[in-house]
Amino acid sequence: MTKTDTMVNLRKRLEESESLLAMTGCYDGITNLECREQDPLKFETIHMKLRASCVSAREIARRISASPGVREVGEMVAALYTPEGDAIAISNGIMVHVHTMSRFIKWMIKNDYQDDPGINPGDIFANNDAFIGTVQVPDVMDVVPIYHEGTLVGWAGAVCHELEAGGITPGGDVALAQERFGEGLFVCAEKIGLNDKIRRDYIIRCERNLRMPIYWILDEQAKVAACFNMRDRVLELIDEIGIDFYQKISKEFIEEGRRTQLARVRQLTIPGKYRANTFYGHVTKGKPGFQPLGDPDWLYSIPLQMDIQLDGKIVLDFEGAQPWGYHSMNCTPAGMDGGMFVTLTQHMNFEGLVNDGAWLATQLKLPEGTWTNPDSEFCATATSWALLLPAYGAFQRMLSRGFLARGFLEEVFVGQVNSPMIEMGGISQYGKPFGIAHFECAAAGSGALAIKDGLDTAYVGWNPESDMGNIEIWELDMPMVYLGRSILPNSGGAGKYRGGNAFMSTWVINKSPEVRIVTSEHSSRVFDNAGMCGGYPAPTCQMHRVVRNSNISQRADARKPLVHSTGLDQNELTMNLEGDHQIIEGPHITAPMKAGDIFTHSYNGGGGYGDPLERDPILVLDDIIQGQSSRVHGENIHGVRFKGSIEDTTLEIDLPGTMAARKQLKDERLQKAIPVSDWFENERGKVIEGSFAPEVVKMYRAAMNLSDDFSDEFRTFWQLSDSFAFSEPKQGEDKHG
């Protein structure tokens, strides 16, 4: 074994670095960027080399992986860190994990891993525990220390999102987990390899605890190869520029990243207080497999406040958030960091040095005991994206308000949305047990921009490369054959510029006696996105339409047309197929399906921007011709009047009719509208009586119990007494107050 560093106490070094940041306000106490000042070109060139090594390592890994999630959709990221665990350079991909990996490295340092189990050359460490540093169990991260002549000079790290995690339900995002103990295989900051080799006993543990170990194990090989590749590139660079210069410049990169973020905020936004809220509703009452710990149906409000300070620092406060619960949608501070980081990389740090410096220029306030910062490490985080995505979509809208006010209209973006996932398992088309997460969800509709429509079927916030993957690849890995992938008309929120539309997929189960399908991130009872400046939220995600025991085989034998979607009026399946038709609200949690059954699944569209009556009639017509929206949508919401018909290709705009209709719709608005003061008086009475749905009352009660600020604000708005509270639930009405 190579001689290891015994001189530097990593824990003390980390504490010193944090103390220097607190004292000077600069990363590691670096107040002058000497390397940059001496030779700016060399500074940029060296960072570019490091970044290139991360990008190429990720591409190498994607070719080793067996998982379509990594190969097709690119659910992976690679990064380089300082010895203290701060990111210097990162690849493209799921950049969420740049800072979650940083937390993992720091956790090992703070827990004296240097003494036991030791941090030595050739070691490989892995983690997927969100309370140590990741978002959810399927996000498995590997890091290796980089030694140069016996001294630890950094870390190389990589993350892949695993498609099967061995939890209570098959797939990676284990939606039915209500506690940590159902989420699957945990690897808690574990030394899984020595001397550049993954331990055999670790591989055996994976093989025996996962439904589809080939994905996880080959992803481990892929990540480790990526880490070794980055390690080699760093050592080559050190040979070229010297160890002292490498260590100095790599820290300056981070301080430069911090300063750039502050400068960018001052350049693109306006200081002040921004507010937003969004909601998420969960519905599982009466569904099989539901465990009795939590409420079957619940509603969360997600209020956010963003303060942009005069120095350019962004402070994002989740005061008023709901308590963590017995469900899989909680999130740890590491996950919240990750959501912030990946959003900033897309909206502010799209040039220059992207690293942990940007994160240092922000602050998250996560109230303890809420879903953003649970005070129990037993709670589950398997599908934390369900709440993270709406929350950071609201963050995007607040940032965009700043861009709009500053005149950077081309950067205004109504935000990301949830994109419900499918997890499945059972018997594959090859007659073997299987489990997989279907990642075509990485291509929802995006929110609109202030100058154009959102992207159709092409964006999710958590993976900026957003790709649904090829149908043929997915069909290789699951016992389901596509009958169609179709644009969902009208699925983007209406506006002067509409949100991007979503798509739906329709499958027939193929050559399998048993397929369990569980879906997550379905907010069916409330909009979990929003519009901006007069734009509407996108509709709630379409419910699942399912046909069990269908006659599709007989239709195929008779050479009759197959069914490719549910159709505009959601009746294509019922009109054309015999069998047991079901409509399932919220997550699809039902008995297993089998060959010949039909399953449909839809994704979300984005929110709209601006008053829909200001939409260019030509865009409305074009949407109808392209199948992006329906004629009634164009008439009701945009006030466009048409001549001719779509069927005989004679459809055209009736411009005088449109102008008259739009005037009439505006007049109707004003006739129907009431002063806010009148609305207030009426609504205040309902608040005092608490005459809302039980889930709504519980939501308010929970927020008020947890947050004095929320309580004060709620009482002040409604002009209530300081002692106002919603009455406690009656016996049997409420499981966990």
Partner: protein, 164 residues
Amino acid sequence: MDRNQLEEYKLLVDGQLPWPQTKNLMSSYKDRDRFFKILAIYQDKVQWQEKILLPIGENLFIVQKGKENIVKCTCGYEFGDYRQNWKLQAVMVVRKTREDLERIYPHSDVCDPSWMEIREFICPDCGTLLEVEACSPGYPITFDFCPDLEGFYKEWLKVPLGSE
């Protein structure tokens, strides 16, 4: 201002800038004086005289009126001091029945009106839909944005509020 750039920004504000130019604008370094360029374009478009200090929405501006800084609609309607939530001075339509919701979401699944309603905030004068809230019944109206106007002009723009 460069004449071509002025024309480009006018097209941007109107949503008419061709995609290749828009993409260039997105990918290029951001011009440091964009704020004043866009402000001039807005000022030229509106029919009233008050000086625009800050756009805060598609049709809403903070303007200087005498010694007060107030929120004003493109049409000229005034909502009062910018430090108060302009929505409280608007008129509103609340969609809280399935029928009302389905009118704007034809052919789609919609929220459960007992869990969520749509609030439309409308200019009392011109009838323009200025902002939409989707929230649970009983949720306080959100004050979307209260800028630090003084700090912005003094510390970031380095000009007195209302000058230039």
